[in-house]
Symmetry: C2
Subunit: 148 residues, 2 copies
Amino acid sequence: MSNVIEIPFETTLLVRDSCLCLQVQRAARALARRFDEALRPLGLTNGQFSLMMSLNRPEPAAMGPVATLLAIDQTTLTAALKPLTRRGWVNILPNPKDRRARLLGLTPSGKAVLAAAVPIWKLTHAEVEARLPDGNADRLRKVLLALS
Amino acid sequence: MSNVIEIPFETTLLVRDSCLCLQVQRAARALARRFDEALRPLGLTNGQFSLMMSLNRPEPAAMGPVATLLAIDQTTLTAALKPLTRRGWVNILPNPKDRRARLLGLTPSGKAVLAAAVPIWKLTHAEVEARLPDGNADRLRKVLLALS
DNA sequence: GACAAATACATTGATATCAATATTAATGAA
DNA sequence: TTCATTAATATTGATATCAATGTATTTGTC
């Protein structure tokens, strides 16, 4: 006897059409490709842009809050900083108040790259937002926040 | 003279609060972690679940359409298949109609794992959807599709 | 049929992502 | 003060992701 378990094709269609995880991953990949392509002339990816922008603060930032803001694991942040420090765009300094901690900041050349990226971000973002029916962008942001 | 370009902090706040790319990536990571955790007892990640579910078809699938459905690069699909074939959950057969192409299918043990994952997916998805105000899930799906 | 162009997939190299674990330092309780 | 606990970050290993590129095959045109 053959005991192969068959999953109904309707289940596959249900997942394809309703799974918010799949659909958010898909949108995330599509948006990432779009922003990556636009930022490529600067040698930046969308994630590096977001990370560097989050480091543009009056006071240098510790790693924990930055990881939380980006909703990435702390170990991912450690790894993501390496290419940025290697290129001299981000500096990592010891925190005199807590010798376990590090303080993250943008270097002058990092600020220059980031400043050049801002108009690209604005243009690309406007193009993306234009694809959405009026008002949907704000609602989308609220819902995404509820999922994060 | 110091020629350091400064990006206004307001720009940082604008990106943080309005960038759909950042916010979709954040939600994608949060949802991925949630589904990964739920599926971990089966040794599946959210992406492997979506990929295997997309292979549950009456006829075996070629690689191109699967990559398009998942909105991943074709080279990503090639890489993603490796751990699944190694575990004996997915088989890759030559396509007699086109010797360049491959036909992807689930093995019996792959179907068994996937069948065990379905109730976990249903439960986890219901929990996630419950966090959204009524009716927002459908609207969200439409908007995500427009972004993909 | 010959051949250029297009198509399907694989490989390589770089970065992204997280779980598990390790290291170092600060904190709190006895 | 001592020492167990907690907190901040790093390392390792596995997988995910894509650009650039390579290989094999098919297709369309002459």
